[in-house]
Point group: C2
Chain length 430, copies 2
Amino acid sequence: MGSSTTPPSGFRDFLPEACAARAKVIETISGVYRSFGFQPIDTSAVEDLPVLLGKGGGENEKLIFKILKRGEKLERTEPGSELADLGLRFDLTLPLARFYSRYCGQLPNPFKAYHIGPVWRAERAQKGRYREFYQCDADIIGSESMLCEVEVISALDAAFRAFKIEPIIWLSDRSLLFSLLDQAGVPADKRGEACLLLDKLDKVDRQTLLGELETAVGAQCAKWLQSHILGGKVDRDRLDAAAPEAMGRLNQIMDILKNSPVQGRLELRPSLVRGFDYYTGPVFEFRHPRLSGAIGGGGRYDRLTEQFSGKGTPACGASIGFERLMLILEESGSVAKADELRACVSVFSPELLGHSIKTAAQLRAAGWNVDLYTGTGKLKAQFKYADTRRAKLAIIIGPEEAAAGKIKVKDLSTGQETLTTTENLEKPGS
Amino acid sequence: MGSSTTPPSGFRDFLPEACAARAKVIETISGVYRSFGFQPIDTSAVEDLPVLLGKGGGENEKLIFKILKRGEKLERTEPGSELADLGLRFDLTLPLARFYSRYCGQLPNPFKAYHIGPVWRAERAQKGRYREFYQCDADIIGSESMLCEVEVISALDAAFRAFKIEPIIWLSDRSLLFSLLDQAGVPADKRGEACLLLDKLDKVDRQTLLGELETAVGAQCAKWLQSHILGGKVDRDRLDAAAPEAMGRLNQIMDILKNSPVQGRLELRPSLVRGFDYYTGPVFEFRHPRLSGAIGGGGRYDRLTEQFSGKGTPACGASIGFERLMLILEESGSVAKADELRACVSVFSPELLGHSIKTAAQLRAAGWNVDLYTGTGKLKAQFKYADTRRAKLAIIIGPEEAAAGKIKVKDLSTGQETLTTTENLEKPGS
């Protein structure tokens, strides 16, 4: 038996149409990010393992695809000690923190960066969740101003709107939820668990999880949290009193965004948690109006560079869930089409090949996407090929056409045939 | 001490300018490939290890970054057996063979594919040689016609010409060199070694290596090879007699390309070897007229799908050495510039922020790339920032401008200041 032709579990291949669609979506997002003054960066796919593991390690370690040591280094590794020295990046934020710590002297301050590329996570693959997927990050590093949040939120929102998606934007702050948990009387050691449950509760069917919340923090606390955090109407005064600093930040963001295209789609949502530990202030999430799950999200992370430079740097950034976005675009049939193939030039016979080559070259030079048939089939097979390629035109140069210095052009949608010259055909608008 | 901020040895980060330049070059190459009717594909960065190792394994095994097994799978691994189950792809040709074997039923026949992406090789890093680098492949699968070679060579050549590079193209055939070695009396078991030496001899200073060739095949053989293979003028008749089939293929390719833009830059070069074992017919290499080393190359590989489907498929493809191309473009100063930042909008005071935000939003909506200052510095710092960003214009809205419904626009190259409105500024041609 031969090797398997399927990629490893959780990994994917992309056929031409999907590949072209992904490239177009990336192009659009890049263009929007650039229009907001973000600059592109790229980092290595592979990082030193200690960089990926950070101080704590623990939580991320399971996510990491680790790369085996090589050669002598592997041979010298003692049993029981780490067999890997490198790993694949699992997000684009940690690499950005390393990048910024390395280059900050050469970068504008603040630095507005965007980074679009694949990341890898050793999670169990399931429908819609892959082990290799793209992220599209936009970050501003070096400023404490809430204008960073405003610009990042606006840029992601503009990117979604470029695909006719008007997301709902949930906004909160890490310390807001912590303050509310304190008010509710949740003991400090139950904070993490309660956060996770509240975050889930806000997103899925509540009944099953409410029991879990009661078990975790007690019935009274759970009731308080349910009415004050998960309740329909947010009580601004209570929130202002509970966490004045956090609410100060959030009010600033909401004030500035009041007169922007985001208006009417921004919601204060105290239960919003976001997964990563590194957030230190406002967090936000982009939700599709008709789907569960986030299509983007981010927040402020003022301490991520500590791992590298010993000191924190104010920073705020967000990421578009590229694979979810593609899914939405595919399901709504609004995936960008690949560049059209204008013509397939067929080859009548080896003797007349020169004519076909000349015509293809001339049309390509005029900016057309043109395929020249490279197979060994007869004309019938060549027409079938042109159909498969979804070419607009098929071009045939048989003995009569060659003798008359003409080409025969067949419109593959109408079937209409025209006798013309390459010069006439390549004219704009033909 | 903090984590290191440098990427692992042989891996690189890209600052905004370099990142933008690379994206532009990739865009250009993609455009040229598409104009020749090639369709984009993508495959996973990670492959099952047996796929990468193939039948032989040996030669490639050292190149592969292997990914450590995870969780229980690692725990169950017995001492002495393979610790890895996955690996990073080391080229784009093997993944293409897997891809084609999996999807050929859904693909046009022949299938013209292009694939641009990173590959990883666990080689010792050195100047200009990286462990993570891009390849830009164009392949035609499913046809024995030498027109495939013609299209692939023409497409790569057109891509180089898009950067004003007119490469010399060396052409040969695997079996041509083998036949000549037979004629010279090189014993079969010395073939591989002789091939490698001849290939090197044709590319570097000969004196040191000639001795090695003598040691390998004997003085008489070495002399014969030197005069018949490495000699200045190629003796076509001798080649035709030595390897009629191979020369039949090569003559066909050269005939067709005689009247193409490649004309005058195509050279028959019997000593050309190309590294990979999988080539089965014509091979070719693109050489920069003023530099040593190839900037691209490829050939026919009719048996690569055997590993997957059990049967071979005629195929021909080539790859642009993207990193070398970037090096050439950088050295000649012809690297594409990043998208220009048209304006930096400064923020005069928190009270006037709304005016700045409105102006930025309006210009962005008009298609401009516009940065809004997100830092906390005073106007002086904001001008410095606009300079660092190489913006064309700086826009200031102070109390007087705001009161008058105007904006102040400073041309950062001339220093000239104008009082205008956003509406006037965004007009095309302003």
